[in-house]
Chain length 154, copies 2
DNA sequence: GTTAAATATATCGCACACGATTTAATCGTA
DNA sequence: TACGATTAAATCGTGTGCGATATATTTAAC
């Protein structure tokens, strides 16, 4: 019973579980991020600001693979919440430098507890720690491969 | 030099690469789906209709982990394109049954070539076929674990 | 030095996701 | 059998993603 459409079966797809797992992950974060008062993409922006400090919209975009059409409104919302400052660079008026306010910097402590709590949700009897590590490793490789295909390599 | 915030570094996150890879994957599909004239979530709905035939909005939602607030407008757009029919069930007027039009059914042939073409984008010297298979296996397990946490198990 | 190309944000429009609520139909139980 | 609870879609509002375009500034070429 060969099925010429077997490749289209949902359970044979690689893309669908990626999409579903990604969405589920965001939902797992939701209650923790609610305590911080931010959404998941906003949390990602805070991550790069905590890690690298003041930087341009473009820098943030390159780190998160997002562009100004997504970041500009998002950053305005973070500004509204008092977590972030935006100002044009003196040297180059085209560039907008984004930096953390004291309040934004302060959230880092609270946030630092999240990853450990999240990890618990990913662990289970069905998946060993080694398997999860291997998964993470492949995921990073895949990110590199796809980045090249999608973003292009200049 | 212990860093109390190391857990917040972008490259230590599991969530971010999942999010990025999922978005990249959608972009990889884009040119192929443009030939079909549908978006990626619309394509997923077609997948379950091709695979399981006529079914309710709720059935589709349970298979894709989406709810009526997302599906209703999406299905209206698929109807507009002439790919799908929506009608209330006789037996239970609350239920809306979704089925493929001839045109929607016809797209299956064209679509059946996509998975193979996509797979090429995921393959690379850096990732062996075995590694990709292991990745897919863990991904499915993860989907199961997270599904239980997020959707609940009733 | 003026102007065309390049660059960095911003804006616009559309299509998801999703929490919350509403509407309509069906079910369950006293 | 009436009526409250449950169920299935739909609606609403907010926040992304993202292709396409616009705006403003800087760079480069002449």
């Amino acid at each position: 019973m060969e099925d010429e459409f077997a490749a289209l079966y949902l359970e044979h797809q690689l893309c669908f579980p990626l999409y579903a797992v990604s969405r589920f992950t965001t939902k797992i974060y939701a209650p923790y991020l609610e305590e911080l008062g931010v959404t998941y993409p906003q949390y990602l922006v805070l991550l790069v600001l905590w890690q690298y400090g003041e930087q341009s919209v473009k820098d943030i975009g390159q780190r998160l693979y997002l562009e100004s059409n997504t970041l500009t409104p998002l950053l305005k919302r973070l500004t509204q919440k008092g977590l972030v400052k935006r100002e044009r660079a003196q040297a180059d008026e085209r560039t907008v430098l984004v930096s953390l306010t004291e309040q934004g910097q302060g959230l880092r402590e609270k946030a630092s507890l999240i990853p450990q709590r999240i990890l618990g949700s990913f662990q289970s009897g069905a998946i060993s720690e080694g398997e999860l590590l291997a998964f993470q490793k492949t995921l990073h490789k895949l990110l590199g491969v796809l980045e090249e295909k999608v973003v292009g390599e200049v």
